[in-house]
Symmetry: C2
């Protein structure tokens, strides 16, 4: 079954779990999948364990490369990551450490960028698009003409910490009124709790999750609908910023919040329609422009990591290979 | 005197005037300069007249190409422009029209992008930077690894119409609270008039210009200082957005407002320092990062247009040459 140089492994590190896939390097065909909750062990060991399990399960070929998608700042050249809102917590050389542990070249990328690379890879390599991930945090990844915008700082796309509201609460990043504290998952849960504390009539219970808030909005709950509409306005403005700054003609929204589907997307599109009706400039910027949800059944994390692994073998990142050669 | 294929002409179309330079194509040495106020004639005729005047003055060589920097949306491939906040006013095929009138290849670019190209050309072609133009309007141009970010829409960098304030006034673009209506030249003049109408004590007179407001701020005028600080907060947030989205490590601020110098720049840097002190993420994003003013004596419009002309001859834009061949 193995073709063209063995198989590729893609590992996605989420907020609560690790998901991994192994595919044939030549055909891209899925060979094996793993999914396991994060535990307290060092992250590089958990990632290496999932990758090793996939390698041992296949047994009939060589792992040509491992791609790792992580929810943090990444230096793709060195495979070093740090957490976005906690940059003082120090660095983790996850790429070199996993490469050393398994003797396989290892390439690391920010999870939103890995997802954007996967979307472009799937739809045609010369494409341009922005992928906006809305979950526990908010970040964007942009591909222009088939090339990822990384920026000199490696921070390109960190839209979650742009200014969204003068009256917004304190953000864990240290600023106030950031987009993320106004519109990500924890903000939805907080607004529900605050609304209930103000005595607003709602079917929601204290401690409702974002999923429950959107389900309530879909059922016509007044508080849930108001929260969904407020988040929609914030995310529509963020998409306006993305489209005006990068000039992309396609924005794909993914991340945990996007799985709520229509009750999540509809308020965003409604606000964009209001902006387009009010402003010929915005109408022009969004023509042609598609704003769409990532289909809920897609799994861009590990599949994006596969694209990262394949791109890495093509020469986009070299340092982890050097680490392997040092063994 | 003429070397290597004659001379290049750079024309900058401003809000009130046209400025043009002619340089040796080989050495880049300045040969002649023109500056004249805009009148009511069709814009392409005024641009062609300035270019023709420069060509006739030199007389001893061939104009190899004309670059035109314009304050509007540009399709660099076709040389067609439209006004940013007035996109319904229709298109002007300024590149083909000037090329036809003079029989010289003509290349057109957004003025902020032309300035960014000039800065990168001057400082090293592989550089990355954002140029933020703050004058009658606000727009940005970004070069990453020596390549201009244009976007599919041609609109990349239109930060002036991103959302800045929930309480902001109506913007001529049709939206409310845009950065431009909060922080560009007309906003400074409006805030001075409003402050005086509220009875605030100030040395400023009704109808004060942005230059007068910044001069008053430099003299310690309370109203002038408050306006400069408010604009500084807005522009610091815009620079944060630019640095987070594009990941650039250098932001150069130009445009008419920047000529106020320290009273304009200081409040921007002060707010960025407050953000960096509050947020390790922002400190990380701005390390290393230089935020600086374009030196007031520099003249990026016509010199940027020269870079556009030279790049155009190198193959970056072709359509106006076809127009010439049609003659």
């Amino acid at each position: 079954m193995t073709e063209g140089g063995g198989f590729l492994i893609g590992i996605d590190v989420g907020g609560t779990k690790i998901a991994g896939v192994a595919v044939d390097a030549g055909s891209g065909q899925l060979r094996a999948e793993r999914r396991q909750p994060l535990d307290g062990a060092p992250l590089e060991r958990q990632v290496a364990a999932v990758a090793r399990d996939l390698i041992e399960t296949l047994g009939d070929g060589r792992a040509a490369a491992i791609g790792i998608a992580v929810p943090g700042l990444v230096d793709a050249g060195t495979g070093i990551m740090r957490l976005a809102v906690n940059v003082d917590a120090g660095e983790l050389a996850i790429g070199p450490l996993v490469a050393d542990a398994l003797g396989v070249p290892c390439f690391v990328e920010h999870d939103a960028r890995a997802a954007a690379l996967w979307l472009v890879d799937r739809d045609g390599a010369e494409g341009s698009l922005a992928y906006l991930s809305v979950g526990t945090g908010i970040s964007a990844a942009v591909v222009i003409g088939g090339r990822l915008v990384r920026g000199v700082s490696g921070l390109a796309g960190e839209i979650g910490h742009t200014h969204a509201s003068d009256d917004g609460p304190a953000c864990p990043c240290g600023l106030r009124g950031c987009l993320e504290i106004m519109a990500a998952g924890p903000a939805v849960a907080r607004m529900a709790t605050e609304g209930l504390a103000r005595g607003e009539v709602s079917s929601l219970a204290p401690g409702a999750s974002p999923e429950e808030v959107y389900a309530a909005a879909a059922d016509g709950d007044v508080l849930g609908t108001a929260i969904a509409e407020g988040v929609g306005v914030q995310l529509a403005r963020a998409i306006r910023t993305i489209v005006l700054l990068y000039g992309v003609d396609r924005v794909v929204i993914g991340g945990g919040m996007s799985r709520a589907g229509a009750p999540f997307l509809r308020p965003i599109l409604d606000e964009l329609d209001r902006e387009k009706a009010a402003s010929p400039l915005i109408a022009h910027a969004f023509t042609p422009n598609r704003v769409e949800l990532l289909p809920p059944e897609s799994n861009p994390g590990p599949w994006g990591a596969i694209v990262v692994a394949r791109s890495g073998l093509g020469g986009a990142a070299a340092a982890p290979e050097r680490e392997v050669a040092d063994e």
